[in-house]
């Protein structure tokens, strides 16, 4: 019975990795072709191929990063910034991605002051340091240690259950859940988006009749906090907020 369960799990795992290997192989050839195009200066073609790869298989940071590079070369800065941001979602600690993202940001026309509180900035930076999956895994590992320790303690029948160590562990688990919740809020309640139009008007309300509050240019990062059919309410890091047309922005989502 035990052997059967073990074998089943092994086969499943192997199957999963085989599938990934297959996808990687298939992606690999297209990827090679795209790289060659990039190397020879055919950025248009390279961008097209990378773009195709982003729709196939599991998301890969390198593809988004390379796509961003191709768009920088083509002068499409908003596209480049969008793809760098997507790459950072998968590989948030990659220095190259950050470097190129900053480079692209330096080229755009508009600049937004970051007037958020230091603790908001710090929280955002900490949450951006890990991916959602990593935070989830960390939480699960902590929970696992806590639960296993608890079970062993109960089985051994020793007293008391709430030792200092276990209390610390429990606090860690709570913190991990808090961080995961924070990440959830960051990802879903304040979704990042990039302004894609050369000129984008943010209005006081979700219609053309509302007054223009401010103007932005392509590549500016905004946070989407509310959505209507054709309009989204966005907040900027300088605290301003307004309604923009959905077609003017693109959300940073894989």
């Amino acid at each position: 019975m035990k052997t059967r369960v073990f074998l089943g799990a092994l086969i499943t795992l192997l199957g999963v990795s085989q599938f990934h290997a297959f996808a990687a192989q298939k992606g690999g050839t297209v990827f090679e072709e795209a790289n060659t195009s990039y190397r020879t200066g055919n950025y248009e073609k390279a961008a097209g191929l990378y773009e195709r790869l982003t729709h196939e298989g599991a998301p890969v940071a390198a593809v988004y990063y390379d796509l961003g590079n191709a768009y920088v070369r083509l002068g499409k800065l908003s596209q480049a910034i969008l793809n760098y941001e997507k790459a950072l979602l998968i590989d948030p600690r990659n220095a190259d991605i950050r470097y190129n993202l900053n480079y692209a940001r330096g080229l755009i026309e508009y600049r937004v002051e970051d007037s958020r509180n230091w603790y908001l900035k710090a929280t955002a930076a900490v949450l951006r340091f890990w991916t959602r999956q990593e935070i989830h895994l960390l939480t699960q590992v902590l929970v696992f240690i806590f639960l296993l320790g608890g079970i062993l303690r109960l089985l051994s029948g020793r007293d008391p259950f709430w030792t200092a160590w276990r209390k610390c562990m429990f606090a860690l688990v709570l913190i991990a859940f808090l961080v995961e919740f924070g990440k959830h809020v960051q990802d879903n309640l304040f979704t990042d988006a990039i302004v894609m139009q050369k000129e984008c008007e943010a209005r006081y309300g979700p219609s053309e009749h509302d007054q223009v509050a401010f103007r932005m240019g392509e590549g500016i990062k905004v946070f989407v906090v509310d959505r209507r059919e054709d309009w989204s309410r966005v907040v900027l890091t300088n605290g301003e907020s307004g309604w923009v047309k959905n077609e003017d922005i693109a959300e940073v989502k894989l």
Partner: protein, 610 residues
């Protein structure tokens, strides 16, 4: 840029010095205006510029000084001061000052010393704070009772030659000099300011038939850095004067302590801005004729000296040559004499030091350069003379100085060349790695082979953890129940009675199926035991000592004496007795009946108890 205070805590009336230092390439800066400071009297007390040359790269800094005189105790925050340099605006950081109450001093009773006072002129109002600082007003045109005359000691100079710019204040009022409202515009010049004594020298002069008090309030040494025609905008000075104008006949009263003008009570002061007219200057280029190779722009008169720290060295060991140039002139901007290309040595710049002296009206000083030589080959060698040339504007010709020739003996050493320890880590000798252009970094060309497993393991872990959570919960419940049971035996029996009964029931059913005649006796025996055990557990009767009467009484108490089920139970007990003592022939159906009665009893009692 940064701002420094010479002290963080002070008493009311005590002077605090605020220096704002701006470091950078540009020395042509407007004096920053201090933001309004509640609880302080502030005075601008001048500027000082420094230029340092390291390996030919200049960095300059300008220091603006202010004096703050606290007027009341408390904790104050000095807000950021802004300085405009070209298009950019720089800000200093905030700093805090703590002011404690003075020992019996009233605010402002201390004389604000940065305000340079005209000596001997009675200053009654200086003894008390100016009640309301009137806004600075531009001096009415044509008031020849007070004016400033900036003058230079010569109007035609060579490049890098010192010019002395003096501001002379002529006044017929009781006057206090309050500093510069607008700094002179001196771009293109290296500036050194002469420190002014606290008491400015004063003399009486006659101009256009009127007697004035004349005082030199500011002296600057200017060194033009490039030839051309210059116009120096002298800026504007702020003075405060006693309000009533004094006729020429009143000049003598100027010194007298008359009742009305001298009484502090009536003294009213008025601020005036004095705007002197610009100064024209011609800066001549260096004469081409006779210009030596080694000339690098030094102007003045200089002496040179040099010494070598040792005459015998081992191969690859450093020997330091120290060259000192001293004299009068643009000492700060002097460059190191060029070292000729040497085949047998590696050379490094080690240290540059300069000291300035301001004696009389002349800027002078000394500058020393340390050059490290590391011999590569053994044998006799020499450090060649270094040439230093300067232009003497008085003689209008170039002079060339040489350091002596230093012979050195190099001994053999097997040690390979190494950067000498005292030189390593000194940024001067190592070239700085600098970014020359900006571009994006290259694409990633490797497709990651392994899929990201974090997500997979995260989800797997989630299920494992749910399972573990269940196990933990069960264990915890069990643990809790055991703790309760260990305290209360009756509870334990009551709670476990049903479980024991159902285990016994299984056993009974197995026995009931058996066709062997001897098993019938065993069956009824077991049935009786199970029934008794269950009832005893439920009502905490002794399991072994319980009698048939006790059971009957207990059941009658709970079921009622006339209950049909009670009769069934009693019948069952009778049947059990019969099987034990009677001779065997009990039908198979009775067993089923017995089991049913037992089951019903358990069910009924369980329901009842709930």
């Amino acid at each position: 840029m940064n701002a420094t205070l010479n002290k963080r805590t002070a008493q009311v009336g005590e002077e605090i010095r605020l220096n704002i230092r701006v470091t950078g390439q540009s020395s042509n800066l407007q004096a920053p205006r201090l933001p309004a400071l509640d609880g302080f009297d502030t005075y601008y007390t001048g500027r000082a510029s420094h230029i340092t040359f390291i390996n030919g790269v200049s960095s300059s800094n300008v220091e603006f000084s202010y004096t703050l005189i606290p007027q009341k105790p408390g904790k104050f925050t000095l807000p950021p001061v802004e300085v405009q340099a070209g298009q950019q605006v720089f800000k200093t950081e905030e700093s805090t000052i703590e002011i404690t109450g003075g020992q019996g001093q009233t605010a402002g009773s201390a004389t604000p010393s940065p305000v340079r006072q005209m000596p001997q002129v009675p200053q009654p109002s200086a003894q008390q704070p100016i009640p309301q600082e009137p806004a600075a007003v531009v001096s009415p045109q044509g008031d020849d009772n007070i004016f400033v005359r900036p003058w230079v000691d010569r109007t035609s100079v060579y490049q890098n030659e010192q010019i002395l710019l003096t501001y002379s204040l002529y006044t017929r009022y009781d006057t206090r000099y309050e500093g510069f409202e607008k700094e002179p515009e001196t771009s293109g010049f290296w500036i050194e300011e002469f420190p002014m004594e606290r008491d400015i020298e004063r003399e009486t002069v006659r101009v256009n038939g009127k007697r004035y008090v004349k005082a030199d309030v500011k002296k600057l040494a200017l060194f033009p850095t490039a030839p051309g025609n210059y116009t120096i905008q002298p800026g504007s000075l702020k003075v405060s004067i006693r309000e009533e104008a004094q006729g020429s006949s009143a000049f003598d009263e100027f010194f007298s302590d008359s009742f009305f003008t001298g009484g502090a009570f009536f003294a009213r002061r008025q601020n005036r801005l004095l705007n002197p007219s610009p100064i024209q200057l011609v800066v001549k280029p260096f004469p081409v004729q006779g210009k030596p190779e080694s000339f690098q722009g030094a102007v003045g008169s200089f002496r040179i000296s040099a010494n070598l720290d040792k005459a015998t060295v081992k191969q690859s060991e450093p020997v330091t040559l120290k060259v000192v140039i001293e004299g009068e002139g643009n000492i700060e901007t002097i460059n190191r004499p060029k070292v000729p290309a040497l085949t047998g040595f590696k050379t490094y710049d080690a240290d540059t030091n300069s000291q300035l002296f301001k004696t009389g009206n002349v800027i002078g000083g000394q500058k020393s350069f340390e050059i490290v030589f590391i011999p590569k080959e053994e044998g006799d060698a020499f450090i060649p003379p270094l040439e230093f040339s300067y232009f003497d504007p008085k003689k209008e010709k170039y002079e060339t100085l040489r350091t002596p020739n230093f012979p050195i003996k190099v001994e053999h050493s097997d040690q390979a060349f190494q950067m000498p320890e005292e030189l390593t880590g000194k940024a001067l000798f190592q070239k700085q790695v600098k970014l020359e252009t900006k571009d994006i970094r290259y694409i990633q060309e490797r497709f990651p082979e392994t899929p990201v497993l974090a997500g997979l393991f995260g989800r797997l872990g989630q299920w494992v953890n749910l399972l573990l959570l269940g196990v933990l919960a069960l264990l915890w419940l069990k643990d809790r129940r055991e703790r309760l049971f260990s305290k209360d035996e009756a509870l334990r029996r009551r709670k476990l009675a049903r479980f024991v009964a159902s285990t016994n029931l299984k056993n009974l059913k197995r026995l009931a199926h058996s066709q062997k005649p001897e098993d019938t006796g065993v069956f009824f025996d077991e049935l009786e035991k199970a029934m008794t055990h269950y009832i005893a557990d439920k009502w905490n009767l002794s399991a072994h000592g319980v009698t048939r009467q006790d059971l009957e009484a207990t059941l009658a108490e709970h079921f009622g004496t006339e209950d049909a089920h009670l009769k069934d139970v009693l019948g069952l007990y009778g049947l059990c007795d019969e099987s034990r003592f009677g001779k065997g022939a009990i039908p198979q159906a009775s067993k089923k009946m017995g089991i049913k009665i037992f089951q019903d009893t358990v069910n009924r009692i369980e329901r009842m108890r709930r």
